[in-house]
Symmetry: C2
Subunit: 192 residues, 2 copies
């Protein structure tokens, strides 16, 4: 990739039997399940040609932060690692949809639930730099998308217990009362 | 439309020589111009078949508010009129793109510029209920869009001077230092 080009923002997550990420387990946490697949491929920018083996394709786009204030952004930028670290061979794909009640809230109400009550950013910061993360938004892609958010995480096997702790802490927070669909896939990189 | 269906969120603005809105004038305010057209059609939901006369098509999606706090939302909901009022035969289509510097700001920094410094919501409220408005987001549609926002306004001819005042007040605000492309079309409904 030419380094003068802007970083890609649109990503397609392809579930099927190809791609470098092997699905270790897949949990329906809330709402409709997602069809089981054995592998996931993550493709930047262009919508790939659909392989015959594709079971689902989920699209998401990175965007500006919606809740993070300056002091939090500075901490995040200082601590958050890049994706693609050689030791971070385990992944998690957490798919979330929030309820209509969430989207009808005003900005200050959503921020209060997200951080003042749920400590979403503060909890996440505790697991940096172990866990690398990229958040993709789906809700404003223009068509009816099955999820509002696709979150992709990468970490070393030794940090998996910490990652589980992080997920459980958030899942128990007031913010999660507004989550009406959640699917949690855990993956590991196929041997090269 | 079946009233049990959710309201459409995705809209396509088609510039060409068909559609109910006649373009009275078109101003490039900042950045690249947009090709001149004589009429605009606004199409809900589906991407229309492209008429041979189509000069441009701009897509946008309504979404949750990004800056409005509860007290402001309550005032807006109480005062804002619906689109489609019979007397509101004049329209304005204001197309905006904000700079990379804007999108790199944290949420509190953007809110401070948007409202504390620029009084965007407070100024807008002064012109309610005369001016009806629908904001469409484009930046997260997934592909490279020429604008970040499409704003559509409808008002009666008698309220046009007030609308001009509103536009000038916002254009002079600190928020507009982050606008790097703006095109302003004024329209009126064709006789039926």
């Amino acid at each position: 990739m030419n380094s003068t080009l802007p970083a890609p923002r649109l990503f397609t997550f392809v579930g099927g039997n190809i791609g470098p990420w092997l699905v270790e387990r897949s949990c329906r946490v809330r709402g409709e399940p997602l069809a089981e697949v054995s592998r996931v491929a993550i493709i930047a920018e262009e919508i790939p040609q659909i392989a015959p083996s594709t079971v689902w394709m989920l699209r998401g786009i990175t965007s500006n932060e919606r809740y993070v204030v300056r002091v939090e952004k500075t901490s995040l930028v200082a601590k958050q690692p890049a994706l693609g670290r050689p030791a971070a061979t385990w992944g998690a794909l957490i798919l979330l949809r929030k309820s209509a009640a969430w989207w009808a809230l005003s900005q200050d109400e959503r921020r209060a639930i997200f951080e003042t009550q749920s400590r979403h950013i503060e909890i996440g910061l505790r697991y940096l730099p172990a866990v690398a993360r990229r958040l993709h938004h789906c809700r404003d892609l223009g068509t009816a998308e099955p999820f509002d958010f696709i979150t992709w995480f990468e970490f070393a096997p030794a940090d998996a217990a910490g990652f589980d702790e992080l997920v459980l802490a958030l899942r128990g927070s007031p913010e999660w009362e507004y989550v009406d669909r959640e699917v949690d896939l855990r993956l590991r990189q196929a041997e090269k």
